[in-house]
Symmetry: C2
Subunit: 346 residues, 2 copies
DNA sequence: TGACGAAATTGGAACGTTCCAATTATGAAA
DNA sequence: TTTCATAATTGGAACGTTCCAATTTCGTCA
């Protein structure tokens, strides 16, 4: 049942040439005569030969595999990121190892080690919370190109691709201020991450710029998920002096915030302005359509993959830190759209 | 900068043993003396050795890689499926190639070929629309275990793991009927898929069982996405004799349907009953919480991975077709919960 | 002390490819 | 015809591991 593996030697025999010639054909060398090439290709088809990349790698020490490790594939931001990476990586003839760490640093260590053993020629990592530069050291020492996405790590000598979180947050808050909001909350996210830090600073700076007070009570962390958004907005609405708008840590939180508002009979967009961050695919089709700071996760994945492939090709490239620009896309959830009845306002 | 690769020979030299012994300790053989093992392990640490799985595979023709191909990672159903697979595969010491076909059959052909070349020892595939048994033939001939998930393919001699779509749809529609609905729509999904077919038949059968008429006008296909849900419900609401409830092809469609209802100032759950299919993670936290037929995508991924690993271990297993049971989880979107004011009803 | 079985270790071939250096075939110029 | 450059082809070593059969070491018992 399980048939013998057919190798390059078998086709050499079938085509009446040497294995070296077959190898040449396989890699599309121009050295081989047209007629021979045809014979060899015919034999390949007839015998149902499948190329053994493992054996090839062994000889050339150059695999066509890249690894990508994300914290939470369940979050569409990362799913889209992975799709973006996959797209460019596939069309470059590479294939991707995808691993999910669930934000667990131990898991991350394991999968990175496993990927090294499999000989990936590059790695795209969205580091788990708490990852340190030393965790990446063995990787960079061994000369494997690494591109950090989403979160940068201080002191790590690898390339990174982040987004201008500070500017994005500022733009969002400015927009809310222009619309007349004075009490604006910052909801969701883990406070001990660099991304939180940057977005929150953008939020503060915009308030300060406008001469508005910054109240610590209005900065409410939570898990960066839909559920986290629900709890964060609940907490915000228990405040004596309630906010009328919120910038959320990310879109997932923003959707949760909308859910939480509805649970209190408040209509997001009409009774309370909500702005998200990331511009996940559903942001556009949600009701109300989510105003959000577009990070373009899929595009980010693509750029990360391109950067990585470039470094792989170059052998050893200098690490570069790219911070992608970001833009506010105004939709309905910040109150831009239709006027709504307000009688429900508690 | 790029350091020389250190191999088992280097360790052998450093530890003063032969490469065979090193190989033995690498695979945890009980044949080697405790003291030697310690020496070897020390050398491994000191020299920073990394195991070369490629070389090992070459010799043993048994990789620790499985492939998983999905149609749309952007859909959380598939993302969760992948996470489920990843979890069990990782803890079995395997690593997964993940590829996204975007429902394109050509892409699927490419990635499957590429995975074969990389020597995956098994494949989990959620086949793109239009995949035929013959597409999988070379794979099964070569003895690589394949597990089909979500969609089965007639005539393909491989295992499959689907869910009892017919029963799930019937349960959902029965529930709507019990609540007094008479005009119930079936919204979303591509009509030319087996999954659509099964769910739709369940829908029909439940209506027939209750002696209700089946109207073709109430069966409205669309892309199985949020956007598709919006358009499907729009179409449904233009009917002269509007439905008062809908069973949706999947949760994504159901969310879209909710969006579409809101756009018409109807409150899902209160003014119109909506039931989804899949029980994606957000179903629970959405507002209103989505009543849905739970397929447990993550669990499904786990079971698929377990089945595949079993077959890999067994060498060659008889194909088995598992259809997972499914249960209706009643939440708010079908009108189960709080009574709401109805004045908005157009 | 010798013999013997068990425990531990070992050298070399093999896995399927690529690459190098070397060889042979081809055709044009002399 | 001979000569030479060029085009095609080739055998064999190498990549880093595992596995087999063979060998060495050891402890125990007669």
């Amino acid at each position: 049942m399980v048939k013998e593996r057919v190798t390059v030697i078998d086709i050499a025999r079938a085509a009446g040439v040497s294995k070296s010639t077959v190898s040449l054909v396989l890699q599309g060398s121009s050295l081989v005569n047209e007629a021979t090439r045809a014979k060899v290709n015919a034999a390949i088809r007839d015998l149902g030969y499948v190329y053994n990349r493992g054996a090839a790698n062994l000889r050339q020490a150059k695999s066509k595999i890249i690894g990508i490790v994300v914290n939470d594939l369940t979050n569409s931001f990362f799913a889209e990121l992975a799709v973006g990476v996959d797209a460019v990586v596939q069309s470059a003839g590479f294939v991707q190892f995808l691993a999910n760490t669930g934000e667990k640093i131990e898991r991350q260590r394991e999968v990175v080690a496993s990927m090294r053993e499999h000989g990936v020629s590059g790695l795209i990592v969205s580091p788990a919370r708490g990852t340190e530069a030393t965790d990446l050291a063995p990787l960079v020492e061994s000369g494997i190109p690494v591109v950090l996405v989403v979160r940068d790590i201080a002191g790590a000598e690898v390339s990174s691709l982040t987004s201008d979180n500070h500017a994005g947050a500022m733009a969002a808050v400015r927009h809310l201020i222009e619309r007349g909001h004075q009490r604006i909350a910052f909801l969701g996210g883990f406070p001990d991450t660099a991304v939180f830090e940057a977005r929150m600073r953008g939020y503060r700076d915009a308030l300060i710029e406008a001469g508005l007070p910054v109240s610590e009570a209005l900065i409410i962390g939570s898990a960066p998920s839909r559920a986290g958004g629900v709890t964060a907005v609940e907490q915000a609405m228990m405040l004596a002096d309630r906010p009328t708008a919120a910038l959320c840590f990310n879109d997932a939180v923003a959707f949760g915030v909308c859910d939480g508002l509805r649970a209190r009979r408040l209509e997001p967009g009409a009774d309370f302005a909500v702005i998200g961050f990331d511009d996940v695919i559903e942001a556009k089709t949600a009701v109300p359509a989510l105003t959000t700071v577009s990070v373009d996760p899929q595009g980010m994945g693509q750029r990360a993959a391109e950067l990585l492939l470039k470094q792989i090709k170059a052998g050893k490239a200098e690490p570069e830190a790219i911070v992608g620009s970001v833009r506010l896309v105004v939709r309905q959830s910040c109150g831009a759209a239709v006027e709504r009845k307000r009688e429900v306002l508690a």
